[in-house]
Amino acid sequence: MAASVYTSPLEKGWYYLHRLLCGAVLLFLIAPILVVVPLSFNSVPFFTYPMAGLSLRWYEEFFLTDRWQGALHNSIFVAVCVTVLSTVLGTLAALGLSRPSFPWRTAVMSVLISPIIVPVVITAVGVYFFYADVGLLNTFAALILAHTTLATPFVIITVTATLAGFDHSLTRAAAGLGAPPVTAFFKVTLPLILPGMISGALFAFLTSFDEVVVALFVASPEQRTLPRVMFSGIREEISPTIIAAATVLILFSIAVLITVELLRRRSERLRGIRDL
């Protein structure tokens, strides 16, 4: 609402105060990221401005030492497995849930979404006891399975959202033209829900890639992931390498976000929805 000509001075004052407050809050939101990222190029291991000089030594340490690279590889390996598992399971479930004939929809949906509601510590403790029982503790399998439970809700949510505007007469038309259900799915349904699936997959990847609590509980140093190394690093002595790692991850998040946004637009274009 722009300040109109007929506003009283009090309203005008209020209008500018509101703008000022919003500016401050938005600054509060973004500043930590903007302030911290340049510090990863600092040539000395201190966290103050002005910086002594520019250097890539922390990035070298991140990209060239085994400790960080091992963790990065573990993280990527786990996240890729989680992405595949959760995308397949989550998409199938979303397809089923979005059928009008599905019984007990709300109840099933609540159960499937619950991993993002239950506090992560409880999930971590629960799976820790459970994996201790079945002898999976300190294995990659444990980490992948636990992360998959945490990641599937995101796939379900994004794919369900894509299916919400899905025109079922399209598959019926395909069937009417003689396509068997499998062909109809791969030729008609899949291309239309693919953007949603890819966004879901990316969210699943990020979820696993960023997850630290479960990794702290069920993984041994053998399966240490990037967030785990960062967590223990922050606890002991925070070094600029952690900031360098964080910067790389932030860039990665930005890339993922942009991809998701582009996919969302494409999906809306495909479905003929154009929101203003």
Binding site: L29, P32, T123, T149
Partner: protein, 416 residues
């Protein structure tokens, strides 16, 4: 369509249409179910079952029952008044001997130690001495070995062990425990820590939720009323932090707030303060970092509700003579309530379970319930306590989630 079919009630291929319709509907239901089934089973086995098992741990403890079986059997007949008779002591001596041989004495000791702090070493040394004890009478011999076995409250404790179910962990989580005669009494003051922990968790969560609402509401309003182009640009400032990992944002706050961090140095360079302020490893650090992390989660639902409110409502109120604040309060604010409820409930639920941020930027006095759950699991290996605290936290969270789904709807959980 189905109703007309039923009304006509005609037959088709020799079968009543109604039956055929029902059959097709059933088959479709089945197909939908088959699609959901793999994930449902996976979540049930890999998520619901482990959590159920954890909840069970909170009330189930058969340590004494499995490690001291003879004593437990003998104790069933004990009336609980005086010290038990020679037969029970003989059973205890036998169990202690066996536990020494099988190296399980420490486990028995640990279990007794939960309820009677300081008795762990007594139990282990009793087992060691009992292992060389000549045959009976055991009662006097055992009491001579350790006065522990002459104490009535120890025997009450052991008697409680004859049941695999115990309320001890749950009672302890709310600062109660069993007295010398198995009655429920308040814990001694030095053990009363959990009520404080729960109140602190609640306090921090309410505080953070209130601050995020206070800060998020005006921004959501701005974003909702600006033209799409400029609001989308500002939206990036909200969504980018939202999708940056919690760990990274917490790291950023550690760097910013530490003693020789950016904030302190800037304030000192500006001569606002003369020496570094304590901004981290205390309540300030926890609240600031948590607010930063939760702000988008409160803001986004409010924003998406505000988007749907037509500005003509407020304009109508104004044209009917309402002042700007009256129009806002009577017309606009009530319309935003669903968004506020969604955002605040979500933030509150997530705050209750916070672990990472308080662990990294909070002091020992800012640890919330989650960190005690982690502490009992990883360090003290007292799984009963971890489960009991977890059970309480989970119950509160699920109750809130239930009201969230009733109020807002599960489908409305969004990610920006």
């Amino acid at each position: 369509m189905s109703t007309t079919a039923i009304q006509i009630g005609s037959t088709f291929e020799g079968m009543p249409l109604r039956l055929k319709l029902k059959r097709i509907e059933r088959r479709q239901k089945f197909k939908a179910l088959i699609l959901v089934l793999p994930l449902l089973l996976f979540i049930l086995v890999a998520f619901v079952l482990p959590i159920g098992r954890m909840l069970f741990n909170a009330i189930h403890d058969d340590t004494l029952l499995t490690l001291a079986p003879h004593t437990m059997t003998a104790l069933r007949g004990w009336d609980g008044k005086d010290l038990p008779g020679e037969a029970v002591y003989a059973a205890l001596a036998g169990d202690l001997k066996k536990s020494w041989a099988q190296k399980t004495a420490a486990s028995i000791g640990k279990r007794i130690n939960y309820e009677l702090p300081g008795s762990l070493s007594e139990v282990i040394s009793s087992a060691r001495k009992a292992s060389v004890l000549p045959a009976g009478p055991y009662k006097e011999a055992l009491i001579k070995i350790s006065p522990l076995w002459g104490r009535h409250d120890v025997w009450s404790l052991l008697k409680r062990g004859t049941s695999a179910y115990t309320g001890y962990y749950l009672l302890r989580s709310v600062d109660y425990e069993y007295g010398p005669d198995s009655q429920i009494v308040a814990s001694p003051p030095e053990n009363r820590i959990f009520r404080d922990v729960f109140l602190r968790t609640l306090g921090i969560s309410i505080g953070v939720t209130a601050i995020t609402l206070l800060l998020g509401f005006p921004v959501a309003y701005l974003l909702a009323t600006l033209p799409r182009k400029s609001s989308n640009l500002l939206m990036i400032l909200v969504v980018l932090p939202f999708w940056t990992s919690v760990l990274i944002r917490t790291t950023a706050w550690v760097v910013l707030l530490q003693q020789h961090g950016v904030v302190n140095d800037t304030l000192m360079a500006l001569h606002v303060i003369s020496q570094p302020a304590e901004l981290i490893y205390n309540r300030i650090g926890t609240i600031v970092a948590m607010t930063h992390i939760q702000l988008p989660i409160t803001l986004l639902p409010i924003y998406s509700v505000m988007r749907t409110i037509s500005p003509s409502y407020v304009r109508a109120a104004r044209s009917l003579g309402a002042g700007p604040f009256y129009a806002f309060w009577k017309v606009y604010w009530p319309l935003t309530l669903p968004g506020i409820a969604a955002g605040c409930l979500m933030t509150f639920i997530l705050c209750l379970g916070y672990y990472i941020t308080p662990a990294l930027v909070g002091g020992p006095a800012d640890q919330m319930i989650s960190s005690f759950v982690a502490h009992y699991t990883n360090e003290e290996l007292n799984w009963g306590m971890a489960s009991a605290l977890g059970a309480i936290l989970l119950t509160v969270t699920l109750l809130l989630y239930y009201s969230f789904s009733k109020l807002v709807g599960v489908d409305r959980v969004k990610m920006g």
